[in-house]
Amino acid sequence: MHIIGLRFVTETFHFSMLLAATAILPGLFFLGINFSSWIRVFFQNGAEIGSESIVFITSLCSIIGAWLGAFPIPLDWDRPWQVWPVSCVLGNLIGYSAGLVIGTIHMYIKYNKIRKLKIT
């Protein structure tokens, strides 16, 4: 352990569980283990408006949030939340919440567009 410099093993594990819960779990609920629909949603921009678009946006936002959460770690402010992985956890949760909001707004706008299209 010492030789290859493994540190923060439990912390990292907990963080990874959280990340999986925010980024993968919603997908598992709504897409199941259907391989092709995963590909369609995540790699082909083919998410349908509704649960799929929410899943896509929240996963993306929570990953980006966790990524951005790493930024303050090296800074010399000596705050307790700068310790790995606290800031990443916070970033992840903030990103997830933001994803929910963005997803809702996105859905609202798209629905309105579709409705207008249907009316006209």
Partner: protein, 1098 residues
């Protein structure tokens, strides 16, 4: 692997390559000059005044010359012994009664402790603060001249040059005193022809703990017993070398300090009454034994003064804090104690305590007399500094004139007070409140000296803003030109537009102007003209770049083509945008000291991000292809309705993810080879960065494991490259390069491994070996690598033309033994007929990888050389670097395989690839055990294959440069493979895309066919690499300029800039040479094709 050659006609364009080389050289020249101009303004310099102090000065009172003869004041001692113990940290010298025995450096200098307790009136100990930078040469300058160092001097550490400023050595010599010198030969370089007797020993060999010290010890006592000296200087290096080699917490340090203790005891025994002894450290050391920076441990050295005569009037209070004195304070103290004038430009303050006692003036009891005596010395000191300030402010406008008059006034005022006091004392003989008045006088003198010192420190930390601005502008112009070059390389024509010539001419004109302004005129004349021309230039470049169209005009109107490419382009655009954003992040990170400190971790973060962006990009492209093929199979799959785990894992998408994970694993392992910066608090020292010979005892069991791990890695690497070349088919026949790969490389590897084993021997055993045995293994590697390299340059063509079997003598029907001769006759006949009727195309092995294999060969060579230089601990990191580059190249290859056209636009934008590649190279700078700090430079690299006595400093400098920037060199050498490798279409890349090998596979011969396109791509690659690295150096430059008054400027930002600049120079050089090499390989291949064409035509 063989295939039939189809010789294509290649259009001749010899000029294009040469033109590209010229363009790149202009770019390199511009960057280099820009950076040098900036460095010239940024790295501080100081005006050296060459005036010497003289004995006759108007401020010295002749009445003070009672007792013995002296210059400004009577001398206290006739002779002095100065013992410099390099890197004698304060806690080495300080006696700590509660120290536990686990610190090998504590309480070892018992002789000093005994003297301090036994003869408190004869000895003194001080904390001796050095001024950063704490390199020995800087410190010696400070210790002898008494002036403050600046950053620029630090660069010339290995170029010991004579000191021209006034110093106490020169003052001694002028008074006709004889100096005996023993020890570090840096002194002889600094003071040539000054010493009456000199016993210099080479100082550069850090590994050698004993030669210098034993040499001094053998000569010191006999010399001291002689009568032919007034000053003896002995400079011991053992403690410093022991620190560099083992660190302070090693048992060797204890031995070394005990040896020093014996030296001090012996010296104090043979000292005569009229002698004073100074034992001092020139700087301290960090907990790892290095020095050069400005941490507390490095700055705090120890000073011990002793004389058989009484030294001070009062005893040192053992309970009180030890007084802290500056290292510059030694100069005036020594000078006045020995009755010499203080050197002219000294800024030190005398240690007043030592002037309280005067044997001729009965100061024992009278405290007023004691104070008065020390004030007399202080007064002389203040006047000497006043003299310096007056001369300095006349010759330079730096010194603030109002401050000058203020100080002048203070001194005048104090002087008057002193006169009044003296007259009052003479007239009335009153002792009432004299003590109080004296102490006020003392404070005034001290405050005068301190203020001057502070002002000088400030003005010498002044920057030449004109040069800085010019350098800054030059780099901006060059960056714009670089962007323009990248645009040129994406032009639809395979040519260079004519505007380039105008721009290059403008560049050269501007450069000449800028150089003239900043190096010859200086800041005496305003540089408005340069600014204006630079400004116009920048505006012109921006307009030119914006106006330049890379696309073919008629292609734009073609809407159909545009529509098709739309999706591809949007994905490309996202990729380019993300890469550029990351570059920008990297650029801005240089402005924060925390990010610079943790840059090693930051690069890992960036590279992991980039690798997943790449991965997702590839999967997206894969899935675009999959969409069509999947719809047909969809029905089938639902019918089967079973989940085949093997199919899932061998699915290209999973393979892409696995490859990315493997790549990440490589990156993760590379972090084990990092070394710690002083500022990284939570960092633990990696076991890979410790030399085997000083391995910590608690990890003894890992010692042999680490060695065999490194050995395995190196040999595996050699084996793998050989396998790759064999698979390519470039190892047929017995040409010279085949012999090199088959026999010379393994020999090199084995010599290198054996050399590591030799280095792992304990120091004593190693030193006992004859010199040739120590160096021969490493020199074998140098020699073989050099020969193989020359062979490659001369014959880069690594293909094998199968000899055409004209005479086929195989007997087909061996059963018919009686009729052998007629059969043979028939066959010969047949052969002759065949030859006439059909002309067989020549069969060539390895033509499909004829451009790749020279680079595989070259990379192996460079890795062998760098492995030797990095040593056994860090050489696996090179293997990791190559491995991660391999995965990276395979992913690029997969991407290219997915885009249909070979010479298409999709390949033509290299920017994301280059960003990835360059961040990777920055990562492995840290991954090969380096940091951007002066103490982390691995000086020991200079001794691989050399014992230490260098006549010039070019060779060690090159070796250290290669060691420090190993990653930049290796990545520079690999860089052409970014373009060439995708054409070889390796197995992994095929698996990643799920494509089979096509029949018409030509490998990288396609590039030879499209020779102009190839050169253009290569030009784009090199200029992109230049752009990225220059953006980085530009970031460090801006950060250094912006934070030049920052607390951490000299610790973090300035070293970062210097390291980045040198790294950039390495990249410029390597890439330019590699570009030339690419041209050479291409030229030779084309020539070969021509000869084949000719022979087949005739």
């Amino acid at each position: 692997m063989t295939f039939e050659v189809s010789v294509n006609h290649t259009t001749e364009s010899m000029g294009l390559g040469v033109k590209y080389v010229l363009l790149l050289s202009t770019l390199v020249l511009m960057y280099t000059v820009g950076l040098l101009i900036f460095a010239n303004g940024f790295l501080l310099k100081r005006l050296v005044i060459e005036r010497k102090s003289t004995c006759r000065v108007d401020f010295a009172m002749q009445t003070d010359l009672h007792g013995d003869e002296g210059c400004w004041i009577h001398k206290r001692f006739k002779r002095a012994i100065i013992v410099v113990i390099d890197a004698l940290r304060y806690d080495f010298i300080k006696y700590d009664p509660d120290a536990s025995s686990d610190h090998p450096f504590k309480n070892k200098l018992s002789a000093i402790h005994n003297l301090l307790t036994g003869k408190p009136n004869h000895s003194r100990m001080y904390k001796f603060m050095a001024d950063p930078p704490t390199t020995t040469l800087q410190r010696l300058k400070g210790l002898t001249t008494g002036s403050l160092p600046t950053f620029v001097d630090a660069g010339s550490n290995f170029h010991s040059s004579e000191i021209t400023e006034d110093n106490f050595i020169d003052q001694f010599v002028k008074r006709g005193k004889k100096i005996t010198f023993l020890g570090d030969d840096t002194w002889v370089g600094l003071f040539p022809r000054r010493f009456n007797k000199a016993f210099p020993f080479p100082s550069f060999n850090v590994k050698d703990l004993h030669t210098v010290d034993n040499g001094i010890i053998n000569n010191l006592i006999p010399e001291l017993k002689k009568d032919d000296w007034d000053i003896t200087i002995a400079h011991f290096l053992g403690v410093d070398h022991c620190g560099h080699r083992y660190g302070p917490n090693h048992i060797a340090m204890s031995d070394k300090l005990s040896q020093m203790n014996d030296v001090i005891r012996n010296v104090t025994r043979v000292m005569s009454e009229d002698t004073v002894l100074f034992v001092l450290g020139d700087h301290g050391m960090t907990s790892t034994g290095d020095h050069g920076g400005d941490s507390k441990d490095e700055l705090e050295a120890g000073l011990f003064i002793y004389s058989p005569q009484q030294l001070t009037a009062k005893q040192q209070n053992p309970l009180s804090e030890v007084t802290t004195v500056s290292q510059t304070d030694l100069v005036p103290t020594i000078s006045l104690l020995l009755g010499l004038p203080i050197p002219f430009s000294s800024l030190g303050k005398i240690i007043e305590e030592l002037f309280t006692y005067c044997p001729w003036w009965k100061t024992e009891t009278d405290e007023v007399k004691q104070n008065y005596h020390s004030i007399k010395a202080l007064r002389l000191n203040a006047h000497q500094i006043r003299q310096f300030v007056t001369v300095y402010s006349q010759s330079s406008s730096d010194f603030p004139i109002s401050k000058y008059y203020e100080l002048e006034h203070l001194l005048q005022h104090t002087e008057n007070d002193l006169q009044n006091l003296i007259t009052a004392m003479v007239k009335d003989g009153s002792t009432k409140d004299v003590a109080h008045r004296l102490s006020i006088l003392r404070d005034h003198y001290i405050s005068y000296i301190k203020q001057v010192r502070d002002i000088c420190q400030n003005i010498w930390a002044r920057f030449d803003s004109v040069s800085m601005l010019i350098g800054f502008l030059t780099v901006i112009i060059t960056l714009l030109i670089n962007v323009y070059y990248m645009k040129i390389s994406r032009w639809y024509k395979n040519e260079i537009p004519d505007t380039v010539i105008v721009i290059v001419m403008m560049c050269l004109l501007y450069l000449a102007y800028a150089i003239f302004q900043s190096f010859f005129i200086g800041d005496s004349l305003s540089a408005v003209m340069v600014y204006i021309s630079a400004g116009t230039f920048i505006i012109a470049m921006v307009i030119i770049i914006l106006k330049f169209e890379t696309k073919e005009p008629d292609l734009k109107s073609d809407i159909l083509v545009k529509d098709k490419k739309c999706q591809q382009q949007s994905s490309d655009f996202l990729h380019i945008f993300l890469s550029s954003a990351l570059t920008l992040l990297y650029f801005t990170a240089f402005f924060s000291n925390s990010y610079v400190v943790y840059e090693d971790t930051m690069t890992v973060y960036f590279i992991l991000t980039l690798s997943w962006i790449n991965c997702i990009d590839l999967i997206r492209q894969l899935m675009v292809k999959f969409e069509t093929s999947q719809t047909e199979q969809k029905g089938k799959r639902y019918q089967k309705n079973q989940f085949d785990i093997m199919r899932f894992f061998t699915h290209p998408m999973m393979l892409v993810i696995f490859t990315t994970l493997l790549f990440n694993l490589c990156i993760r392992f590379s972090t084990n080879f990092r070394v710690c910066r002083e500022e990284q608090t939570s960092c633990t020292l990696s076991l890979f960065s410790i030399p085997l010979s000083s391995f910590p005892v608690e990890f003894e069991s890992y010692k042999s494991r680490r060695y065999f791990f490194s050995t395995g890695c190196l040999l595996l690497f050699i084996f793998l490259t050989r396998r790759i070349m064999q698979k390519f088919g470039n190892l047929n026949g017995n040409a010279s390069y085949v012999i090199c790969v088959k026999y010379v490389f393994p020999t090199c590897g084995v010599s290198c491994v054996l050399y590591w084993a030799l280095q792992a021997l304990p120091q004593k055993v190693l030193d006992a070996l004859p010199v040739w045995q120590q160096v021969s293994l490493a020199r074998i590697v140098y020699l073989l690598v050099g020969c193989s390299f020359l062979m490659l340059i001369v014959k880069p063509l690594q293909i094998y033309v199968l000899p055409q079997r004209k005479n086929n003598f195989s007997t087909k029907n061996s059963s018919d033994k009686n009729n052998v001769i007629p059969q043979v006759f028939n066959q010969v006949n047949e052969n002759i007929k065949k030859e006439k009727t059909e002309d067989m195309p020549p069969i060539v092995c390895g033509l499909g990888t004829s451009s790749t294999s020279p680079f595989v060969y070259l990379v192996t060579l460079v890795i062998l050389l760098l492995s030797l230089l990095l040593g056994d601990g860090l050489s696996p990191s090179l293997f990791l670097a190559v491995l991660s580059v391999f995965f990276f190249l395979e992913i690029i290859t997969a991407k290219r395989l997915l885009s249909k056209h070979v010479t298409d636009d999709s390949m033509a934008n290299l920017w994301p690839t280059v960003v990835f590649y360059c961040v990777l190279s920055s990562l492995f700078f840290f991954g090969t055990g380096h940091q951007a700090t002066v103490p982390s430079i691995r000086w020991e690299a200079a001794f691989t294959g050399f014992v230490g006595d260098f006549n010039n400093h070019i060779l060690p400098a090159i070796l250290i440069l290669l060691n420090t920037f190993a990653s930049q060199v290796i990545f520079g050498v690999i860089s052409p493979l970014v373009i060439i490798w995708p054409f070889t279409e390796g197995i992994l890349a095929r698996a990643l895309t799920g494509k089979k090998k096509e029949d018409g596979w030509k490998g990288d011969f396609v590039l030879v066919e499209n020779e102009q396109f190839y050169k253009k791509l290569m030009f784009q690659l090199i200029s992109s690499i230049y752009l990225f690295h220059s953006l980085k150096v530009f970031g460090t430059l801006c950060a250094a300029a912006l934070h030049r008054r920052h607390l951490m400027a000299w610790k973090i930002f300035a070293p970062r800039f210097v390291f980045e600049a040198v790294s950039c120079f390495t990249v410029y050089g390597t890439s330019l040479l590699i570009f030339l090499f690419v041209l050479q390989v291409n030229r030779v291949l084309l020539n070969w094709v021509k000869t084949v064409e000719k022979s087949s035509n005739s």
